[in-house]
Symmetry: C2
Subunit: 271 residues, 2 copies
């Protein structure tokens, strides 16, 4: 039991989203969904997503909890910019015990971005901008192809802490260019495979024992029902979602298809 779980979690990932705007319901957290989808595609397993406020103590405590759970990656979004309430790196510094200091490589990246913006020289490296190059000791900046604040990689024990800006365009660009490959390598090229079928005219509670049986007969394939509401003429529509993580796409596909066939047969017998 323990060992099979271990194999499945070849690459575990926690996502932490920082920003008061999430907690007051001002902003829909599309970053978390995008990151979860990407991590899953590259064979990683997202085990938890947490949204917290722009508060150093809170960030430090959530990052510390994730590290205690021995995940392979902690990916944060938000709180990397030049303003007062960009506190993610202070939180990470506190959680890991790595002091904040000016990182020459990051400073070069920030300086180059503002040079490209062709501002007069005296406006280029103001104090709030230099702040974006102050990183936890031993950290490496991750280039930001579309914005000014670089991403940040901090290693703590066996875990990699990756901090990305909250602006979706920048978060995506940094992830695609540099982070996706780290996940893929750690997961050992596993693939996530999913497929859905729709069922009409069977209520969810009647599907429940069939789902149980399909999952017992198709180990590791995860089946979940999602009621799509709207009781139409033929009854409610329910989506059945089948998924698993496997070493090869072909094997994954084959096992999911077998599970779907099992389900279709059982539904057929029922009628």
């Amino acid at each position: 039991m323990r060992s099979s779980e271990k194999t499945e979690l070849a690459c575990s990932v926690e996502i932490i989203c920082v920003g008061n705007e999430l907690l007051i319901g001002k902003t829909l957290n599309t970053n978390a969904q995008w990151l979860a989808d990407q991590v899953t595609r590259f064979g990683g397993k997202v085990t938890r997503i947490t949204e917290i406020s722009d508060d150093v103590r809170e960030i430090a405590s959530v990052v510390g909890e994730a590290l205690k759970r021995k995940v392979d990656f902690v990916i944060t979004s938000g709180g990397l910019g030049p303003t007062f309430d960009d506190k993610t790196l202070r939180g990470i510094s506190r959680a890991t015990g790595k002091k904040l200091k000016l990182n020459p490589e990051a400073l070069r990246l920030v300086r180059d971005r503002y040079k490209e913006m062709s501002l007069p020289k005296r406006l280029r490296l103001t104090k709030p901008r230099v702040k974006m190059a102050i990183l936890p000791e031993g950290a490496g900046p991750i280039p930001n192809p579309v914005g000014t604040a670089p991403g940040v990689l901090v290693e703590s024990g066996a875990a990699k802490l990756i901090s990305l800006p909250g602006v979706p365009k920048e978060l995506k660009a940094i992830f695609e260019r540099s982070v996706a490959e780290m996940i893929r390598r750690k997961s050992g090229d596993r693939v996530f495979y999913e497929s859905s079928m729709s069922v009409r005219g069977v209520v969810e509670s009647a599907l429940s024992p069939l789902i149980d049986r399909v999952m017992q007969r198709n180990r590791q394939v995860y089946v979940k029902s999602h009621p799509k509401g709207g009781e139409g003429r033929g009854g409610a529509l329910i989506e059945l979602h089948f998924s698993l993580i496997e070493k090869s796409r072909e094997e994954a596909r084959e096992r999911v298809i077998k599970a779907i066939i099992d389900m279709v047969r059982m539904l057929g017998k029922r009628r």
Copy 2:
């Protein structure tokens, strides 16, 4: 310091969303945003949002952590239905030590719903349906005006644990009918007030010291900058968001307006 924080957190709320579909990036978590917006409107303060998988141990551990943080409310969404992977109440039972047992009041609510659907009698109370009436000891069902699984209220110490179904329509109906009022009462009728202004032609890093000063001069008003991207002809567009929680709407409005005027004056001097 401690005491002012205490006042501000007159009604603290954690939101826990249960569902593998969130962790694989299949579903955008609109429930969390909707709940956070509603809680904020009714004067509550959301301190953390967590998304976890359909796993009893994981649910129990996240609920237990929230209770240790002494929040007033824990609101869960998802995992209340009739199927195998609806495990929220088992998790809450484990976290609170309250055993699961058949709740006669909940059973009556479930039975009445299936009666309304006018199914043949033998199809009404199948085992998976009865499961929806098995609640932690001492819990109270919360009527679901638009679906079959009732919401559930469990009291643990001073905290109220409220479990809502994951189907957005049902979650919203139960919240609006029964939960909103509990939050409003606990928060002592506080109101959240917010207002935004847009600034063009000033980069975010240059706004940072102005935001600091406005927040120092207008205690409790929280100011946050949100870059809206797209460097137009007049420079990037940045939204400045002002908010606070106050006892009266008039007082809140007055204080936010004063902060906005301060900001406008400082921006004027700068040019």
